[in-house]
């Protein structure tokens, strides 16, 4: 009696509630853009880790034929010193993605700490957030440039400068997320029971800010890659001869007439990684933000575009205007 057994199997499947984690994995897999963006990011990360082991060339070793076009021995051609371009882009991935990831982690830690403190202690709020506002008033690339000018061109300094530049963006997101739950009844309940401030922040508030934190950190990762490239391109980032995507672009610019390959390949991989991270960030935001999920069911086609107008893309010197702008941007996603 095959029918009975299959019915039984079906019932069992529906009765056993899927765990929270497997639900989440299923949700991620169901979102094409998240999977697409995530795959790009994972692929690039793998290239950065494994890639340098696969290439027979040394990224710093000078070769005989400079500025050669792509060929069987040099897949992306060679640069102005005859170094293999593909090798330099692979090693550059280590530098550029490494800087992006370090900045993302450092800003996540300090931004979350500052944001949580500011949401919980009024005095900290007044001091820390005023400083954050001041830092955010700088155009980000200019603040990075002046920090680099003072610190000197070094890879560690790029990480440090970009971390200073981007920490306020995380702090602001974390603070507003934390403020919205700080007045919940269960927080009051915990306090009345005599739970310490630190424990309340870590055990009860912090888990609730994880979703916006993860989303924002993904965007910071992308921004850090762009800014590292801009800094190195301006000659204020990763110093020569170390390969980074920005410094390859800078070298490519000076030989743009002789060989356009350097600009095309280095520029292409920067766009690819930024696009991948932005899609991943958008996708995660859609998955993690319950407000967006409701909208998602109603309208699908323009989902992909929403994340690109996040608050950080609207000039942010005056925070008060922003919610209004955001509402307006979202209006067409949310038909009344």
């Amino acid at each position: 009696m095959p029918n009975v057994s299959s019915t039984k199997v079906l019932t069992q499947r529906t009765l056993v509630a899927p765990s929270k984690r497997s639900m989440f994995v299923r949700k991620i897999m169901g979102s094409r853009f998240t999977v697409f963006g995530g795959s790009i990011v994972i692929l690039l990360a793998l290239l950065a880790i494994v890639g340098p082991l696969l290439t027979p060339y040394n990224p710093l070793e000078l070769g005989p034929d400079a500025l050669a076009g792509p060929s069987a021995s040099h897949w992306m051609g060679t640069d102005e010193f005859g170094r293999d371009l593909a090798t330099r882009i692979l090693y550059g991935a280590r530098t550029s993605l490494g800087i992006g990831a370090s900045v993302a982690l450092i800003t996540a830690f300090f931004g979350a700490t500052i944001g949580l403190l500011a949401s919980y202690y009024r005095a900290a709020d007044n001091i820390l957030m005023r400083i954050m506002d001041g830092l955010m008033a700088f155009p980000s690339i200019l603040l990075a440039i002046s920090l680099m000018a003072a610190l000197g061109p070094k890879t560690e300094n790029v990480v440090l400068s970009l971390s200073v530049v981007f920490t306020p963006y995380i702090a602001r997101v974390v603070r507003s997320a934390a403020l919205s739950i700080k007045d919940e009844l269960y927080i009051d309940a915990a306090r009345v029971q005599g739970v310490s401030d630190l424990r309340i922040i870590l055990k009860h508030v912090a888990p609730n800010i994880l979703s916006p934190l993860v989303v924002q950190v993904t965007f910071i990762f992308a921004d850090a890659i762009i800014n590292e490239a801009s800094l190195s391109f301006l000659g204020a980032g990763v110093p020569a001869p170390a390969p980074s995507w920005g410094s390859i672009l800078l070298a490519g610019k000076s030989v743009i007439f002789e060989s356009s390959w350097m600009v095309i390949f280095a520029g292409g991989i920067i766009i690819l990684s930024v696009l991948g991270l932005n899609l991943l960030g958008d996708g995660l935001r859609d998955l993690l933000d319950p407000h967006v999920q409701n909208i998602r069911k109603k309208r699908k086609p323009f989902l992909i575009f929403r994340g690109l107008i996040s608050s950080r893309r609207v000039p942010a010197a005056f925070a008060d205007v922003e919610p209004l702008l955001e509402d307006q941007v979202d209006v067409d996603e949310n038909p009344k």
Partner: protein, 314 residues
């Protein structure tokens, strides 16, 4: 209204203070004294401490801080180590091209983006709407300095239509001047254009859903009249705000974009000063642009409050 204005102005003060303090600290926490940078590697300790004394750099830090802030508000940003002129005059002599690129970029972005946004909104959900939105997504994903390089590659190197790099002043003829700026302006303007298209579209869609539009349609007004006479006027406020707010961002963006094309604006000044370690120029220029950025946004913000009473009440 007065209350709103006062609140806005007051909220700017702490931001300005933080900006000033950060810029001051960046100069003074730099490893290596400025005198050593100016005098080069061969200077003796005596020469260095003499120059430090002349520059007032041996005074206590807090004294230097207040003197410096007083100077800044008098428009004195110090003197360049290498250019033989004051930072203020260096900024004035380099601001022209940067400002021109930013304004051209703004004009390009507005003239392309707003009609496209209106068109997309009026044909919501059609193929043209989706393609316009798709292109705008692409426009937002490409950093302007990369787009600038690609444009230089296509129009300068491959097609040879426009110069790849360089600059000629307006006095040498409008076309001469324009052909050196156009690629930089397009590169810079396209990211803004992408944002404007999206703003215009969603703002129009919001208005087109309103009851009064239904009434206008019911009266028998043609679709063109509905969109241009009735909807656009009410949709224009948020669009104008985004356009206004973009001015500051465009000036900053011009700083990076112009260096791709070797245009001698503020960006070139900063890049050259980085190579020379000419800190006063870097700090002065960064401070100048940041202040410009803050004040442009303040003005836009206040204007928005004047035009839309809801903002004032918040």
């Amino acid at each position: 209204m007065v209350k709103f204005l006062a609140r806005r102005l007051l909220s700017t003060i702490p931001i300005l203070l933080v900006v000033l303090t950060v810029v001051f600290l960046i100069i003074h926490l730099t490893p290596g004294s400025p005198a050593a940078v100016i005098l080069g590697d061969n200077a003796t300790d005596d020469q260095i401490s003499n120059l430090n004394h002349q520059l007032g750099l041996d005074a206590p830090l807090y004294q230097q801080y207040f003197l410096w802030i007083a100077d800044v508000f008098r428009g004195n940003l110090g003197a360049s180590y290498f250019l033989g002129q004051s930072v203020t005059s260096a900024i004035i002599s380099h601001i022209g091209p940067t400002f021109a690129i930013a304004m051209l970029a703004e004009i390009i972005a507005v003239t392309i983006a707003i009609p496209l946004g209106i068109y997309a909104a009026s044909r919501r959900g059609t193929v043209s709407d989706v393609s316009i939105m798709g292109v705008s997504l692409l426009g937002m994903s490409i950093p302007s300095f990369l787009l600038g390089l690609f444009l230089a590659l296509i129009f300068g190197v491959n097609l040879g239509w426009l110069p790849v790099a360089g600059y000629e002043p307006l006095s040498s003829g409008v076309w001469n001047w324009f052909q050196y700026l156009i690629l930089a302006s397009v590169a810079l303007g396209s990211m803004q254009a992408a944002l404007f298209v999206r703003m215009t579209r969603s703002s129009m869609l919001d208005v087109l859903r309103k009851d009064y539009i239904r009434t206008v349609r019911a009266k028998g007004v043609k679709e063109r009249g509905v969109i241009y006479l009735h909807a656009l006027r009410n949709a224009s406020l948020p669009i104008l705000t985004v356009v206004g707010q973009s001015v500051g961002g465009l000036i900053t963006g011009a700083v990076v974009t112009e260096t791709i094309f070797n245009i001698p604006g503020l960006g070139q000044l900063i890049v050259d000063s980085i190579q020379r370690r000419d800190l006063p120029v870097i700090q002065g220029t960064v401070l100048f642009i940041t202040f410009a950025f803050i004040f442009v946004n303040l003005i836009v913000d206040v204007l928005y409050g004047v035009l839309d009473p809801r903002v004032r009440l918040k």
